[in-house]
């Protein structure tokens, strides 16, 4: 028996040693984690994030790596699927931080995952940027957590003011998904802002449905009956076409106004003519974009055969914020814990970052101050810049 053990032992050691040589050279690589949902409720979000991240990595590779303090570092992406589940997002974040030694994490995208994962990142002092999460709790009291988009508390009033100025309406209706964090938050901020401007009861219909619903006829009938002058629809692209089409089939002729979640090109592709002429508030306008934004859109469209949605654009910006943070570090020590701290301070200091979704400066809380863009869907189905609203 003893002989057997020795043989096995020797084999194992040899086996291990023979593979050890090439691995040690990986030491200088900087790893950035990407904690995104590739399966589950919103696989499209994960796909867009992954595409944007891969494009970013291509750029870095083409440049030969990231230059920090005179040294060049290779960059690797660690893309993990969090299945759109809160517990998986936490496991993935923990794994990235403690096992894969990532320098920073981008994602999770949706708030239900970004809030718990933010807790993990903050506890382990690892910078995290959630490109898409709009829940205030994500960054609240968490110095290591940032976000790439504006908050609902900003967007709600922007839309209320815009509609009042544009149409001069007094009576609003809102239809939102009660089971989803983002639409619900935005709907409430909008309601508050609207009632502040037009008095209590001026939101005449405040209706809801549940995620994955497809029939909104009853809610829409109620909204039509309420005599609202327009409908505010803070929904994602998979519901917007259905709601708009059903509203028109039920005889609704007033304007429908949307939020930044309309920003995907899929909205108009799925919705067709019914959505033409609608306004919505978003991070950037794809049609008529200039400069870096246009370059990004053209490249992305060429590479992946689709126009990038807001998730892709925001992920791209978040990665560039991290890149800028890394580059503005004086030097990297090679000790992950110290570097993370340095990176966090560098990101917090970034002023007027010129992203494709607008200029950003972070507040104390890690939320960006950036402008919102009001976009009109043209008669050709393009997203045309209408006006810009800054805080």
């Amino acid at each position: 028996m003893k002989k057997g053990f020795i043989v096995v032992l020797a084999l194992l050691v040899m086996c291990g040693l023979s593979f050890s040589a090439p691995v040690t050279s990986e030491a200088k690589t900087l790893t950035i984690g990407l904690n995104v949902p590739m399966t589950g409720d919103i696989p499209k979000v994960g796909e867009s994030s992954k595409h944007a991240a891969q494009m970013w990595l291509e750029d870095i590779k083409a440049a030969g790596g990231l230059k920090v303090g005179g040294k060049t570092y290779k960059v690797a992406l660690d893309i993990e699927d969090n299945e759109s589940k809160a517990d998986s997002a936490v496991s993935v974040a923990t794994k990235m931080i403690t096992q894969d030694d990532v320098l920073a994490i981008v994602g999770p995208q949706s708030s239900k995952q970004a809030v718990p994962a933010g807790e993990v990142c903050n506890n382990y002092k690892t910078p995290m940027i959630s490109p898409w999460s709009t829940n205030p709790a994500t960054t609240d009291n968490r110095p290591y957590v940032f976000r790439g988009c504006f908050l609902d508390s900003f967007q709600g009033p922007v839309m209320a003011k815009f509609v009042t100025g544009e149409y001069g309406f007094k009576k609003a209706a809102v239809l939102y998904d009660v089971a989803s964090d983002y639409p619900k938050g935005l709907a409430e901020f909008f309601k508050k802002a609207w009632e502040k401007m037009h008095g209590a009861g001026s939101v005449v219909a405040f209706e809801s449905f549940t995620t994955k619903d497809t029939d909104f006829s009853s809610q829409l009938s109620k909204i039509i009956k309420s005599g609202a002058q327009f409908l505010f629809l803070p929904q994602y692209y998979n519901e917007v076409p259905l709601i708009v089409q059903q509203a028109h089939a039920l005889g609704w002729k007033n304007p429908i106004v949307g939020s930044d979640s309309w920003g995907s090109p899929e909205t108009v592709k799925l919705c067709g003519k019914d959505c033409y002429g609608s306004f919505f508030c978003t991070h950037y306008a794809a049609a008529g974009a200039k400069g870096a934004t246009k370059a990004f859109i053209d490249r992305y469209t060429k590479k992946y055969k689709e126009v990038p949605d807001d998730v892709a654009a925001l992920t791209w910006d978040s990665l560039h914020i991290i890149q800028k943070g890394i580059e503005s570090c004086a030097k990297l020590t090679g000790k992950v814990k110290k570097d993370r701290e340095a990176l966090r301070n560098a990101i917090a200091k970034i002023k007027d970052f010129k992203g494709i979704t607008g200029n950003m400066t972070f507040t104390e809380n890690g939320d960006p101050i950036k402008c919102a863009v009001i976009v009109k869907i043209s008669d050709k189905g393009e997203y045309k810049f209408y006006k810009s609203v800054c805080p």
Binding site: T39, D41, P43, K44, G46, E47, V178, E207, S208, F209, T210, K212, D213, T214, D215, S217, S218, Q219, S221, K222, K225, Y237, N238, E239, P241, L242, Q245, H248, A249, L250, G251, E266, K269, L270, G272, E306
Partner: protein, 307 residues
């Protein structure tokens, strides 16, 4: 009044889908005492197959080989999709249920659940994460009848599903095969001894149920033209509730319960704040089952029949 009528029409359309899916659940449940949890995803697959066929037919038409009007394409799509999805149903029975015929019923339910997950993720892997819009085969026409808005699509959905339900009812009540099915649901042990083979009846049950689900899927695509791989889950589980609410052994009971569930959901939204819809709708289901524990048309029976 117009508001009320409007909601009746809304509920008829919404209930049609529950009813069509619940029928498939109910058939498998009545005849084989099984929960076919893959059914919601078979519905989804049916819709996608319909999408493929409709796109294909439209391409053929636009290439000018043959001229077909929109409604004919729709009819063809429904029929072909029903046929292909029936084959899928037979396959599901073959893989997931037949090997487990002597196993506890719950194990078969789990294989069904897993086949459902495979269909969802398989779709996601094949077609990618983007949503598809169902091609508009017929133009939406909205009729305003003194304040009540009705579209041609709504009428179509309700009519086609009612026709299919009637056809199924006739099949089950009037044909020899239907009689065999009813016999099987009456006694699972003795009837096979009488020369009715379970290996014929079971695939047939799955085929018919899946075919109905596919018709539902195509109609769904016409009415709600955004398809995604997970679209069958929620509607499937709710239709499952309707199927059992209808009562075992009563196929028409399932259809009625499907319509009822649609009406409950729509009218709860009409009367109460819509945020409370699921809460109130399912509480009503709970109350109904407390007072009518065997569903509407079901008879008391022993669930241990096949354990």
């Amino acid at each position: 009044m117009t508001y009320f009528l409007q909601n009746v029409i809304n509920a008829l359309q919404w209930g049609s889908f529950y009813a069509l899916i619940a029928l498939g659940y109910s058939m498998v449940y009545s005849i084989m005492m099984l929960f076919n949890f893959a059914h919601g995803d078979i519905f989804m697959t049916g819709a996608y197959i319909g999408l493929g066929i409709a796109t294909g037919l439209l391409a053929i038409v636009s290439s000018g080989v043959i001229a077909l009007p929109g409604w004919l394409i729709l009819v063809l799509t429904i029929i072909i999709s029903m046929f292909i999805t029936s084959l899928l149903g037979v396959l599901v029975e073959r893989i997931g249920y037949r090997p487990l015929r002597n196993a506890p019923r719950a194990s078969a339910a789990i294989t069904g659940l897993m086949i459902g997950i495979i269909l969802e993720t398989g779709n996601l892997a094949l077609l990618g994460a983007k949503r598809f819009s169902f091609p508009p085969l017929i133009m939406t026409k909205a009729y305003n009848i003194s304040g009540v808005f009705v579209t041609n699509k709504k009428i179509l959905v309700v009519l086609v599903s009612l026709t299919l339900m009637l056809a199924l009812d006739l099949f089950v009540r009037k044909t020899k095969w239907g009689m065999a099915m009813r016999a099987m649901s009456y006694d699972f042990v003795v009837v096979p001894l009488m020369g009715v083979s379970i290996d014929v009846i079971a695939p047939m049950t799955f085929a018919i149920g899946s075919g109905l689900a596919a018709a539902g899927g195509v109609l769904y695509g016409v009415a709600y033209p955004v398809l995604d791989p997970y679209m069958g889950i929620l509607i499937g589980w709710k239709a499952f509730v309707a199927a059992i609410l209808g009562g075992r052994g009563s196929i028409m009971g399932a259809a009625l319960a499907g319509f009822l569930l649609g009406f409950i959901e729509i009218f709860v939204t009409m009367i109460f704040p819509s945020t409370l819809r699921d809460l109130i709708a399912f509480s009503i289901v709970l109350v109904i089952l407390t007072f009518r524990p065997h569903g509407f048309f079901g008879k008391p029976y022993s669930a241990k029949l096949r354990l």
